[in-house]
């Protein structure tokens, strides 16, 4: 028995650091740490040496200086006397705008195309296959450039709308598609609550949020009643009323009116001017990402086994109820995670704005600001940080949602 125990007195040996699994992982980590630190310090010391050689320092003070350049699309007040920081914020807002619009349209397109691709109508499913394969297999940049060329080369100039018998006419007298961009009607208020237009819209948004909450309560009440009596009360007119009425009352109170675009001088005035660059970027991003989302949606629906819908039919559920209560909730679990990564891709791809001159974060903070101040290191660092934070926030928010629809396993 004594031979089984370790001989006493034999303490820690250096070779144990390599050959003993208890210590080896520690050794490897320490070595890796040292190597990483060395690499990092090597990069930093190189950077410091290079900066010194160029006579530059590492300083974010440039953000407070006047920018001295104009931005053609701005969601907040900005002029060339504003600071570089404000220019960056304008660019960031533009990025967020096109990313948000793109995500919405891409989802709509993707869901429609994905469902239609599964349609038993041969022609439609083939058409959708052509759409999906065509957009997935050609670089996004080419689509952006192509749609931008369509917007600028194939659309009429504003002068074509002039005269008694114009070469082009506005759609419904409200929307003008020109080579300088698209003009759509704007909603203005005659008697606004606030001077700043943004706050008025904020009020409407808050009311809308309350209305949606109320609709949820109504549906919950209907659900409780259905549980108790077996009959679901009809709620759709109530729901529509709850959403539409308060908004309509607000609009009337504020004296909302439509400001239609009209030809003034050499160009259109009034309404909202959507630049060709925004439209091209938005459409290209949505169509391209929509093709990927279509495949995700198709895969998600196909992943639900046929037994599920057969079981629902056997229970006597209608096709629409089957879709809403049986197929979709299960398909969403498969669809959501890749959908999140598509939204992330779209947001990151919005940096291709450079191809059409759309003033996004890369063009202001990572473009003109860098060129004017010569602060490549700081500018690129901030830009990278912005995209990183944005990616993390989107994936974080979507993960919360994903967890809420996830299969609750015991």
């Amino acid at each position: 028995m004594t031979t089984m125990t370790d001989p006493p007195g034999q303490g820690f040996r250096l070779s144990q650091l390599i050959y003993d699994t208890r210590y080896r992982s520690l050794t490897i980590q320490v070595v890796a740490m040292i190597v990483l630190m060395l690499l990092f310090s090597w990069l930093v010391s190189n950077t410091i040496a290079n900066l010194n050689a160029l006579g530059k320092d590492f300083d974010f003070g440039f953000l407070g200086q006047p920018s001295g350049y104009d931005i053609n699309q701005r969601l907040i007040e900005y002029d060339s006397q504003s600071t570089h920081l404000r220019a960056a914020v304008v660019g960031i807002l533009n990025t967020l705008l096109v990313a948000f619009l793109g995500c919405v349209l891409a989802t709509v397109l993707g869901v429609i195309a994905g469902v239609l691709r599964l349609s038993n109508n041969w022609l439609v499913s083939r058409l959708m296959a052509v759409y999906v394969e065509g957009f997935r297999n050609v670089p996004l940049l080419l689509w952006i450039v192509l749609i931008f060329a369509l917007m600028t080369e194939s659309t009429p100039a504003p002068s074509a709308f002039r005269g008694d018998d114009p070469a082009s006419s506005m759609i419904l007298d409200a929307v003008a598609i020109t080579n300088r961009g698209v003009y759509i009607p704007a909603i203005h208020f005659a008697a606004p609550f606030f001077e700043n237009g943004l706050y008025n819209w904020l009020v409407i948004l808050v009311v809308l949020a309350i209305a949606i909450f109320a609709v949820k309560r109504v549906n919950h009440w209907a659900g409780v009643k259905q549980e108790a009596t077996g009959v679901r009360p009809t709620t759709w007119y109530l729901n529509i009323g709850i959403i539409v009425l308060p908004i309509a009352i607000l609009f009337v109170l504020m004296g909302a009116f439509l400001d239609l675009p009209a030809l003034q001088g050499f160009n259109f005035g009034g309404g909202v001017h959507l630049r060709g660059s925004l439209i091209a970027l938005w459409l290209a991003l949505s169509l391209y990402t929509g093709a990927f989302i279509a495949e995700i949606v198709r895969g998600g629906i196909l992943a639900i086994s046929k037994g599920q819908s057969e079981a629902a039919f056997a229970l006597g559920l209608r096709p629409s109820t089957t879709m809403n209560l049986v197929i979709l909730p299960q398909a969403l679990r498969v669809i959501i995670p890749p959908l999140i990564s598509q939204f992330l891709n779209l947001t990151k791809n919005s940096s291709l704005a450079i191809a059409v001159g759309y003033m996004d974060a890369r063009s202001t903070l990572g473009g003109i600001t860098i060129n004017q101040t010569g602060r490549e290191l700081e500018g690129m660092l901030l830009l990278g940080l912005f995209y990183l934070v944005l990616s993390l926030v989107i994936s974080g928010v979507m993960n919360v949602y994903n967890n809420s629809v996830k299969l609750k396993e015991r």
């Binding site: 890796a32 080419l142 192509l146």
Partner: protein
């Protein structure tokens, strides 16, 4: 029994009637049409909308494409020919820009008399990739795959033949270290030697050796500068180099992310997330604006090399995620079986886990490659002449000022052919792998 039966049956047919054709509505094209195109009112509406859409698109595109003019020197000449043939108000394609400039779109400004070199390199690439893609080919061809990067490099950039040979020798040195020194100094020491010896060799010996060999036996091709390359050749070089280099890096990162070692795990996670969280275009600008800051003062190397480095790092993060998916999909029993056999970490990874995990992740890797290949168009923004950059350059010339769609169609079709066939391969593989698992 039979008697009673004979009484109850009044009539028994003794001959079969002629077999009749099924009703017209229940067979052939009519049935197919009814079932697939006109089964419900909604389907009828969809079919009509679809037909209308096809008609609108084809009635514009087909005449434009097929009436196109192939033989002209400039856009204005194209228009003259069109006015003569069809009249001024007909829109037709001017394919002459393709027939005149296709070589430029494919090769950039590569010297025309040397076009055979990139073409040969591409053929070699196809031959080298074949044994990796199709398992039925003889395994001996893998030696060709191993040698091809060096040969391709030599064919495209030219220069002394001894340079790629001496670089390749470094790998032989590493292999020899594992093979011969490994048993004497132990596994870990062998790996360390296999890393240290080739690095020392490349840093100190390779360059003088190549120079000396070149001066003794001068062998080589006319060298071509990176900036002369462009078009699809550039896209392919960056894409292929990126994927080949990022694959090992991505596998290491995936293993790092799966590892229990805290520091290695966390540094892999940070690297992967940072790279994936920032758009490629920002990384490319980093490569062109900032990479020189991070390197010792005075280093200045080729923009194309910098782009390849950045693209490699970028793709490796994506591949790491794909491979991680493959590693996670393996049943835990496989890892435990490796341990139970007494294999150490590297052996169990190399012999048990990775072959299976990589097999599962090949479709994902192919998809990453498709994405990477499409993303090579982004290099236009840092001044490299990829196909889109060349289309801008062609449009800037006086002869072809104002030509858009023909170039876009050509570039789009080329990309489509590449990416679509890769996508089909990935599907083929998925099907094959699924069958094997059943």
């Amino acid at each position: 029994m039979s008697d009673t039966h004979a009484q109850t049956v009044a009539y028994v047919r003794d001959s079969m009637t002629e077999q009749r054709e099924p009703p017209v509505a229940q067979s052939g094209a009519v049935k197919w049409t009814r079932e697939n195109l006109f089964s419900t009112p909604l389907n009828i509406a969809l079919t009509i909308v679809g037909l209308w859409l096809i008609w609108v698109i084809l009635s514009h595109v087909l005449p434009w494409a097929f009436m196109g003019i192939w033989d002209a020197d400039s856009l204005s000449q194209c228009r003259e020919i069109r006015d003569e043939l069809y009249g001024a108000d007909v829109s037709v394609a001017c394919w002459a820009v393709i027939s005149e400039r296709w070589e430029q779109l494919l090769f950039g400004f590569y010297p025309p008399e040397l076009y055979w070199r990139p073409v040969l390199a591409f053929v070699l690439f196809l031959a080298a990739i074949a044994p990796i893609l199709f398992a039925s080919l003889p395994r001996k061809m893998l030696w060709l795959s191993a040698a091809s990067p060096f040969v391709m490099f030599w064919l495209i950039w030219g220069g002394s033949l001894w340079v790629p040979i001496c670089v390749a020798l470094g790998f032989a040195v590493g292999w020899a270290a594992v093979r011969f020194a490994g048993p004497k100094v132990g596994a870990l020491g062998g790996i360390l030697l296999a890393i240290a010896l080739p690095v020392l060799y490349w840093a100190l010996i390779a360059e003088p050796l190549a120079g000396a060999l070149q001066s003794i036996i001068p062998l080589g091709l006319e060298s071509v500068e990176s900036r002369e390359m462009g078009g699809f050749m550039l896209a392919l070089i960056i894409g292929i180099a990126g994927i080949v280099l990022s694959l090992p890096l991505g596998i290491m990162l995936a293993l790092g992310r799966q590892s229990d070692l805290f520091i290695i795990n966390k540094s892999s996670v940070i690297f992967i997330e940072v790279i994936r969280g920032v758009p490629l275009i920002v990384w490319l600008f980093t490569a062109s604006l900032l990479l020189n800051y991070f390197l010792p003062p005075g280093t200045n190397f080729d923009l194309m090399l910098r782009v390849i480095i950045m693209v490699t790092l970028f793709a490796s993060a994506y591949i790491a995620e794909v491979v991680r998916g493959g590693l996670a999909a393996l049943p835990k029993g496989q890892y435990e079986a490796g341990d139970a056999l007494g294999l150490d970490y590297w052996k169990s990874m190399r012999l048990v886990v990775l072959p299976q995990a990589l097999k599962i992740s090949i479709p994902g890797i192919v998809n990453t490659f498709i994405g990477l290949f499409k993303d090579t168009t982004l290099v236009v923004f840092i001044g490299l002449l990829d196909p889109i950059g060349l289309s801008n350059a062609i449009r800037a010339s006086t002869e072809w000022n104002g030509i858009y769609w023909e170039l876009f169609v050509f570039i789009g079709l080329c990309f489509f052919i590449f990416c679509f066939s890769m996508g089909r391969y990935s599907l083929f593989l998925e099907k094959k792998l699924r069958r094997e698992h059943r």
